[in-house]
Structure formats: C-alpha cells, structure tokens
C-alpha cells in the first residue's frame, strides 16, 4: 500500500501537529512530547474528566473524540503501540478538575498495564480515578471470557454515553457505572479484506488472498474466526449478524443503535449497501434502530473491510446517546 508521508518515524508527530493546526478550537497538544491531546477549554470545572488513549493509526479513534460531551484528554502512542505511562498520567492530570477521572479505553495488554500504572502514579497526587475497559469484539474470545475480548468500535458508544453523563453533572461513580453499562451493552464484529502498513515497519500487517476475506479479524490484524472466499455483501452481513445475535440475543421491541464502520479504505457506498440489508433484517426481527452511525469511526489506516457494532439501549443509555456532543469527527 502506498502512503503519503515524510519520515516514517515522524508520522505520528506530524499527524498530531496537522490535526491541532486544522482544529485549534477542538484540540491542543500538551506534554513533553506533545503526545497528549486535550480540549483547549479543559479541564471543565466541576465535571468528571474522561481520558482515553492507545496507539495511533485509528483516527478518529482516539484523539478525534476529544471534545465537548466526549473525552477531555487522550494519550496517543506510536502507530499500533501503547502510549507511555507518563503520557497517560499527563492525560489524567489534564482531565482532572477535582471531580476525578475515568480511564476509558480499549482492552489491550499494553494499554491496560500502562493505564493501571498511570492510575497508581496519579493516585499519589490525590487524583481519584476509575477504569472501564471496552471489550466488544465478539470474535476475540467467548462470551464466558468476555473481559478478555479486544476493544474495537464499541469504544465510540462508551465515549458518547459516558461523556454525556459527565456533562450532566454526574459524579465519578455514576459516570463510571454508565460507561461500564455502555461497554457491556456493545458487541462488535469485523471483516477484513486487505491489511494495512505500519509506516515504521513498512510491510503489510498480514497476508490475504486476492479473493479472500477474514471474518473477525482485529484492527491490528489479529487472527479472526474464519477466512474464506469473499462473498456477496448480504451473505457477509448475514454471517456477521448471526455472530452478533448469538452473543446478544435481540427480541422484538428491543431498541439498539447500530454502527456500520469502515476500517479505512472501504468507501461509504459499500457501508450503505451493508446498512440496507442490516436494517431490513433488524426490522424483520422487530428491533428498532436508534440513531445509526454509518461511516469511519474506528479505522486501521488504509485497511479495507468494515465492522458492525450493536449497542443495546435502555432509556438511560438512549437519552445519553442522543445528548449533544461536539468534535470535528462526531457531532450530535
């Protein structure tokens, strides 16, 4: 895959400079390496802070979701690598206005360890913190081992819902509880068609045949549940749908939000072809779709493929999902 870049090792730093230059009213770089992105108007007095973080290469995840009604700060690592403990601690400090900080991020070994450690560091400074790890990828472990699942696009629902709760003036325990509830309400499944290339590595993250797809592959190329010939859109969608429904049975009358997410190169035209089938199937089941999202929400640079996320709603989650938020990548 071809890329437009300068030094591969400057990829993340140059990207962040451009991001903040393009949206100065939304994003500000802080910290010794500029690897912490914060709201320029933060920390918001009296509000519970929400921080996230992880490797680069997934825009809008993670930094793109810093904004009103979403995240307060974000630590961002090299492509597909965890930020450092110090960067995470700086993000927590920047998000703290005294009401405590929720660490809300995807379930990956490196991020878990570093965020835990960052939490221990700031505890010594009397900053109260909590953790919610999003683990929504049904392909990555069984329902019995739900907490071992990878975190993928479901993250966006947790950001949105926890962000709205924090904006409402809720305290740290309340924000944490609803973030956890949102995280547990989400299920995702992906299908990958092509790999992507980490700039500093220079070769594709995996190999796949010209006519093959892999159902359940992770956003860093982690092995999925089935590799086989690329099938018709409706058949691919049906297979993904059945994996989701096995994990999260839906009944007539249920209300869910749906995210049809491109992994990068897959254009919106194809996402809408998938959404057409998906929305018809859910309507047949009597399931009501609330505020669907179709687009690029959690990506792997130029990887082709898509993911589908269900977020099962109750009245509280639905109200928070519909509350206003504002970032260049997500506005409600």
């Amino acid at each position: 895959m071809k890329k437009i870049l300068n030094e591969p090792f400057a990829y993340v730093d140059e990207m962040l400079v451009g991001l903040c230059a393009a949206h100065p009213q939304y994003f500000k770089q802080i910290g010794p390496e500029g690897r912490v992105i914060v709201r320029p108007d933060g920390p918001v007095k009296g509000k519970v802070g929400i921080v996230s973080g992880g490797g680069s290469g997934h825009l809008p995840v993670f930094t793109g979701y810093v904004g009103k009604g979403l995240l307060d700060a974000c630590a961002i690592g090299e492509v597909f690598s965890s930020p450092s403990v110090d960067q995470m601690a700086d993000a927590i400090r920047a998000a703290n206005s005294g009401a405590g900080v929720l660490r809300l991020y995807g379930n990956y070994g490196g991020d878990n360890m570093n965020f835990d450690m960052a939490g221990e560091m700031v505890e010594m400074e009397d900053i109260q913190t909590t953790t919610v790890r999003v683990a929504d990828d049904v392909a990555s472990a069984s329902l019995q081992e739900q907490s071992k699942r990878r975190g993928v696009a479901g993250l966006v629902y947790s950001y949105k819902i926890a962000g709205a709760k924090a904006d409402s003036g809720a305290n740290l325990q309340e924000v944490t509880a609803v973030a956890q509830k949102a995280a547990l309400a989400c299920r995702s499944i992906g299908v990958a068609l092509t790999p992507c290339t980490v700039p500093a590595v220079g070769k594709p993250t995996f190999q796949i045949g010209e006519d093959e797809m892999e159902i359940g592959m992770g956003i860093h190329g982690e092995p999925g549940v089935r590799r086989g010939p690329l099938r018709r859109a409706d058949a691919v969608c049906e297979e993904m749908l059945s994996l989701l429904l096995t994990d999260l049975p839906l009944r007539s009358g249920d209300r869910i939000s749906v995210l049809v997410n491109s992994l990068g190169a897959t254009p919106p035209e194809e996402l809408y072809i998938i959404y057409r089938f998906l929305s018809q199937r859910l309507a047949d089941l009597g399931v009501h779709i609330v505020m669907p999202w179709v687009g690029r929400y959690a990506t792997s640079m130029e990887m082709a493929g898509l993911s589908i996320t269900f977020c099962k709603l109750d009245a509280e989650l639905e109200a928070l999902l519909k509350a206003p938020c504002d970032s260049p990548f997500l506005r409600v």
Binding site: R35, V85, G109, G110, M113, M117
Partner: protein, 202 residues
C-alpha cells in the same frame, strides 16, 4: 562490591547494565522480530538511557533511588517489557523505601516481590515463557545467598538453564502467544533480555 546494597552500588551496576544492553540491542531486536514486533532492543536501550540520565542525581535513599529508576522507564513509550520492568523496580522501591543500605540477603525476596507485581500487572503466570520465568529462576537460585558475587553467578547460571528449559515450550503470553506452536524452539526475547542484564553485572 560493597557489603550492602547502596545507591552508589546501584549507580555503578546500572552503568554496566546500560553498556551491556547497548551492545545487545541488535540481538534483542532480532529475537523479538521472530516472535513479536522487533522492538525489544530499542525498548531496552531507550529505557536504560533514560535511567542513565538519572544516575548522577539519585537520592541516597535506596527506595527513592529505585523509584526514580522506575519512573525513568515509565517515560519511554509503550512496549510491554518497559512497563513491566518499571513495575518490578517500583516493587523493589516500595520494599526498600527509607533505607540507605539494604543487605544482599534481601535480593531474593525483592525478586519475588517484583515478579509477583509484574505478574499481576501483566496478567502473566509462571510457566508462560516470559521474563517472569527468568526472574523466578533467579529468585530460587539466590535464596539464602549473601554476597553479590555469589548472587550474580547463581542467578546467571539459573537463568541460562531456564532459557534452555523453556526453549522447547510454546509461548503463552504477549505477542509471541499468537505464534503458538511456531514459538517452540525459539528463545523468549524477554527471558534473554534479563540474562543480558545479569551478564552486565558479572
């Protein structure tokens, strides 16, 4: 070596470790390229240099000195072993805080504490074929020993045989885990990294 572990000893030991890790960077990168993402040499060198920058100004309190070393590791970004080593150092820091000299006989229990905290941090178990198995071998071999020369020699030998013992087992943790049976026959990069650290002290 002195008869007790002091900040001066730490300073001198870390300097030798840094030199050894610089020399081993290529080898560790290559080992990690086989079973992971090939950055382990880079991680160790960057971590070591970050510690080195602190050496001159380390406090005399051994615990606080170790804390500064741990913090130096948390500054460098993001590979697993960097964070785990910071965790291990932090554990030793807590155990020695407030003391300007620590008897060598405590090394084995400091290793035990570090291994436990690293295991809890990374959700790894003994037997997974990770650096934890190197640390545990060193802990067992150093129990009851009271001089630095004896400690280092025993640890070195024990870690060498642990590496041999685990070579033909599959990796069960970290990036290497997804290689499954393909990891059989390959040395775990983290286990080897700890061996190089000990060699720096020989």
């Amino acid at each position: 070596m002195e008869t007790l572990l002091t900040t001066d000893v730490l300073r001198e030991s870390f300097s030798r470790i840094v030199a050894k890790l610089e020399a081993s960077a290529e080898e560790l990168n290559e080992l990690d390229a086989v079973l992971g993402d090939g950055d382990l040499g880079v991680t160790m060198v960057r971590g070591a240099r970050s510690v080195q920058a602190e050496l001159a100004s380390l406090p005399d309190d051994v615990g606080l000195a170790l804390l500064r070393c741990a913090q130096a590791f948390t500054k460098i970004s993001g590979s697993t072993l960097g964070t785990l080593l910071a965790t291990g150092l932090m554990s030793a820091a807590k155990a020695t805080k407030g003391r300007r000299a620590v008897p060598w006989s405590e090394i084995s229990s400091l290793l035990a504490g570090a291994t436990a905290m690293m295991s809890s941090r990374g959700q790894g178990q003994l037997g997974d074929k990770t650096i934890l198995d190197s640390l545990d071998a060193a802990r067992a071999a150093t129990e009851g020993l009271e001089t630095p020369d004896a400690l280092i020699a025993a640890a070195n030998a024990a870690v060498a045989s642990a590496i041999e013992r685990f070579r033909d087992q599959p990796s069960r943790q970290g990036r290497a885990r997804i290689f499954g049976e393909k990891s059989v026959g390959q040395d775990d990069p983290g286990m080897v990294a700890f061996k190089r650290i000990l060699e720096g002290l020989l």
